[in-house]
């Protein structure tokens, strides 16, 4: 069979998807393909365009698999625009004068940004937001600008506004309608979104019609509005809507819609059956789609139709959207305005937390027609599924948007309620059954599943649902996937942390009776103890908290293999006065303790019997020592190097900083232990890059590294912020630590936490350094409260007779444990081996001075 000549105009997201669909079917239907591409590079991910500003290179945005065009013999004509179609001769002519014959022609020309006819738009500082070149130009112009304005407060305009702000500009959004995202939101939703956007520092101006752009006074330009007001700005980005690129089609006398768009039938054919149109340029059933998902569907339909599947039809698509701005969740689903005649609304508004949710349901309350979510859109995926699959609603539809009720069943219907055919990822047309099959075939991690199905790789809106399906499928296979704390709580540590903090819960009993079941165990009790300590910072040995503590926390010392304890006093920054060093030696001698320098610049005293602990601490506390928390899931040490004070290379005073930091965060309880270090220059003698928080001095200040780890699986820390001053450093560490404490899982060090965090270090940087969630002040306040209420646990223990009662081996005798026996090696004690215990002359029995057990009289 002679290959069919196919010419494609446009290599955007949809054009590329069409090519992939076509070549995957071309075995039975040989084709010879040429592609005209007006842009200087082949298809890239326009949906992720904004990430160009956060450092993604054009190569990272590229959508074309390595060697794709070569492998399939596709002629790609970059930088060459198609300028005319001769339907009679079936020929396309390009700007460079190329003439090409076609059997089938595919138009995937997309849209162009609409720029309103405002005098002054010819200024060189006016931009659109559509292609990589546009962003390059914006970035160049932003370099010496202070103020940026986006005209248009829709989905794209807000994304552009966030980008301008990230470029460091004071940013304004000017909207012609009375509210933001007028297409998707109702008034209340729009108002809430406005508050959220303003909280990000962006100024919003609604009901403003821009009349003219003139020369500015304080900035380069000035926008004049119809109501007489004005706004000074250095650059302007137009995001006032898009228009289908149908000029070529129009010139070829193909049928186009009144308001633009190339008319197509269900097979995506234009009125010339040899010419197809797909994506944003196509008008189907009177509708234009400005989203990738419908375009991807069209691409598949056209490819199938061309290769002989004559029954392939485009069924229409959903226009639900989720705004992917960091920190502001906005989603709109289906009939968000309640246009259906008998539609009923449920509305939930929580102004305090900035949450607005609306459900539009059918008159019989059985079907979800649409929804609007602002401030929290976690349920986007599941609500969308309810709409798309017309799933019968639960008895109380309002439960779907109300916060979970006290003791009530969890809301939503869960992924099990979805039919196998449910389209989960609309961007990439992946159904529930396709996901389940992929999991069964071995894609058992989210990353693997995304890779092999492409689900969740475009807009990301379906991500949570894909994860739920992964978990549900694994669970059916008998794989344990819950991150529930233990059998007593159906919550992860992170969830329990929030329930505790928000519910103001102060004891384990309150927490387990409200949110759990049973008596608890050695998993949940210490975890809750840590949560309570992080939230309220009460003395860990208060009778109500004492039973929760691991023995190490209970005795404020580390239990050794023989039941004795080791004691590590805090030595902030590793700096120690000779007098205090002598005290450590004296205490060790007095109690016969084994003494060792630890791997973290401190001194560990081993072999203390439980009844000796308070006596040892008394001596240490009197000498000015504090608990080193070697026993706690808490801050351990801040290691230092000598720094600029002594070292010829040092550029900052690392010891002073280390001492300061250690004193600030001493005793801070966290999901796992925390280690820090401060190095005085780039030679890094304190090994800061192996710590949870690492600080390295620079000529200009400090570089802050986070999420390093030594131990079982070493990991180098990632750079969070550069050249910051002392105050910023402390502010960022406050935020970082509290954010980790709030969100970490039980026994998850910062390194594993980061490796499991969606968005990785970039996300942490946004939250910590740019305050994208607007929780910076709250995190700092939480930390300050902790710092202000710090007390040394040892000091407290020895001054409290009730606590002291616990420190004896027998409740009814003052005798020591005769099973604790030491041998002597290199002049110090060590636990005796069992063979040594039976040779009394070689071993030294700690209970030599044995008393006859004195029983307390029974009453």
């Amino acid at each position: 069979m002679k290959p069919e000549k196919i010419v494609v105009i446009g290599n955007g997201m949809i054009g590329q998807r069409f090519l992939e669909q076509l070549v995957s079917r071309a075995e039975a239907h040989p084709v010879d393909i040429t592609v005209f591409c007006a842009e200087p590079r082949p298809a890239y991910d326009r949906v992720q365009l904004t990430s160009f500003f956060s450092g993604k290179s054009p190569a990272e945005l590229n959508l074309v698999p390595e060697g794709f065009f070569e492998r399939h013999g596709i002629a790609l004509r970059l930088n060459d625009k198609a300028v005319a179609i001769d339907r009679e001769r079936k020929v396309v002519r390009s700007a460079r004068g190329q003439e090409l014959r076609y059997d089938k022609l595919v138009l995937a020309t997309g849209s162009y940004p609409f720029v309103p006819k405002v005098p002054g738009t010819e200024w060189q500082d006016c931009f659109v937001y559509r292609a990589i070149e546009d962003l390059e130009a914006i970035r160049a112009a932003a370099g010496n600008a202070k103020v940026g304005t986006v005209i248009g407060g829709g989905l794209l305009g807000l994304e552009a506004a966030k980008a301008l702000q990230d470029l460091g500009l004071k940013t304004h959004v000017v909207e012609f309608a009375p509210r933001l995202m007028a297409v998707q939101l109702d008034d209340s939703g729009g108002r809430l979104l406005r508050h959220k956007i303003e909280a990000l520092g962006v100024s919003v101006h609604t009901s403003k019609v821009t009349k003219e752009i003139v020369k500015g006074e304080t900035c380069r330009h000035k926008l004049l509005f119809a109501d007489g007001s004005s706004l000074e700005t250095d650059i302007v980005v137009f995001s006032a809507g898009i228009r289908p690129r149908d000029q070529l089609a129009k010139a070829a006398r193909l049928s186009v819609g009144e308001r633009g768009g190339i008319t197509v039938n269900d097979h995506c054919q234009t009125n010339d059956s040899n010419i197809y149109a797909l994506g944003e340029c196509a008008l189907w059933s009177g509708r234009l789609y400005g989203l990738v998902a419908p375009g991807y569907q069209m691409a598949e339909v056209a490819a199938r139709h061309i290769t002989g599947e004559t029954d392939a039809r485009f069924p229409g698509a959903d226009m639900s959207t989720k705004l992917k701005l960091l920190g502001v969740d906005v989603a709109s689903i289906g009939d968000a305005h309640g246009a259906a005649p008998d539609a009923l609304n449920y509305v939930f508004t929580d102004e305090a937390s900035g949450i607005y949710k609306k459900l539009v349901v059918s008159g019989d309350r059985k079907r979800l027609l649409g929804a609007v979510l602002v401030g929290e859109a976690n349920d986007y995926g599941s609500l969308l599924q309810l709409t798309l699959n017309a799933i019968e609603l639960p008895e109380h539809p309002e439960d779907l948007i109300l916060p979970a009720r006290e003791g009530g069943a969890s809301k939503g219907l869960g992924v099990d309620a979805l039919p196998d055919s449910a389209l989960i990822c609309s961007c990439n047309n992946v159904s529930k059954s396709a996901l389940c099959n992929a999991v069964t075939d071995g894609a058992t991690s989210l990353a693997a599943l995304k890779k092999c199905t492409r689900a969740a790789t475009t807009c990301g809106g379906c991500g949570p649902l894909v994860k739920q399906i992964l978990d549900a499928t694994l669970k059916k296979q008998g794989v344990e996937v819950k991150n529930y704390l233990c059998e007593h709580f159906d919550y992860s540590r992170q969830e329990l942390f929030h329930l505790t903090r928000i519910g103001g819960l102060k004891t384990f009993d309150q927490i387990i009776s409200k949110h759990g079941r049973g008596r608890g165990c050695d998993i949940c009790k210490p975890a809750v103890a840590g949560i309570l300590a992080a939230c309220w910072n009460e003395f860990v040995l208060k009778p109500k908290h004492a039973p929760l503590q691991d023995t190490n926390d209970y005795y404020l010392a580390n239990m050794q293999k023989d039941g004795t304890y080791s004691i590590v006093p805090r030595v902030p920054g590793g700096e120690i006065l000779p007098e205090k060093l002598i005290v450590l030696g004296e205490v060790a001698k007095k109690f016969g303790l084994y003494t060792k320098i630890t791997g973290a610049q401190r001194i560990d005293l081993f072999g203390a019997r439980v009844e000796q602990l308070p006596l040892i601490w008394k001596d240490l506390v009197d000498a000015g020592f504090e608990s080193g928390h070697a026993y706690g899931k808490a801050l351990r040490t801040v290691k230092s190097c000598v720094g600029s004070t002594w070292c010829r290379y040092g550029v900052q005073d690392s010891v002073t900083m280390a001492v300061h930091i250690e004193n600030r965060y001493r005793g801070l309880r966290a999901p796992h232990k925390l280690k820090m270090a401060v190095s005085g220059c780039t030679r890094e003698c304190a090994e800061a890059q192996g710590k949870d928080v690492g600080i390295i001095a620079t000529e200009k200040g400090w570089n802050l590294y986070v999420c390093g780890n030594g131990g079982i699986k070493p990991r180098h820390a990632d750079l969070l912020a550069k050249d910051i001053d002392d105050a910023t450093l402390v502010k960022f560490i406050d935020r970082f630590l509290m954010f980790y404490i709030r969100t970490g899982d039980r026994l998850q060090r910062t390194a594993t936490w980061l490796d499991n965090l969606e968005g990785g270090i970039d996300y942490v940087r946004k939250v910590v350094c740019e305050d994208s969630l607007s929780i910076g002040a709250e995190l700092e306040a939480d930390m300050q409260r902790f710092v202000d209420t710090y007390e040394c646990e040892w000091k407290k223990a020895i001054s409290d007779p009730e606590t002291l009662k616990r420190f004896r081996h027998f409740v009814n005798s003052t005798a020591p444990d005769h099973n604790i026996v030491f041998a002597v090696e290199r002049g110090q004690i060590r636990p005796a081996r069992s063979d040594e215990k039976h040779k009394p002359d070689e071993a030294y029995n700690s209970s030599k001075a044995d008393h006859e057990p004195a029983l307390e009289p029974a009453s």
């Binding site: 050695d522 009778p543 691991d550 039941g563």
Partner: protein
Amino acid sequence: MTARPNLRLGEWVAVCRLDDIVPDTGVCALVNGVQVAVFRLSGDGEDGGSVHAIANFDPFAKANVLSRGIVGDLKGELVVASPVYKQHFNLVTGQCLEEPGVRVAAFQACVQAGTVFVIT
């Protein structure tokens, strides 16, 4: 669970006041030369307020430490977790949940007039 025996002196040994044990923790008592871990449960449910006694010797760590473990329940069984290697022991029977072949001695315990008694 906890028997309410007739006190026959010589068999029941008074070890401490109930108040000496913080609810949901244990203490170690020396009873006729044997180290006994005595636990007091909190609350007022079925097992609420009851006391339990098992040997204090942890057969895995070979140390006298069980009284210092965390008390709780697993699938309805009352247990203490060893503070050293975290195996669980049933507070009533002394059975180790992780190792069917390992069981520590269990003793009867009760409270009379605010005093805890144990039989070894």
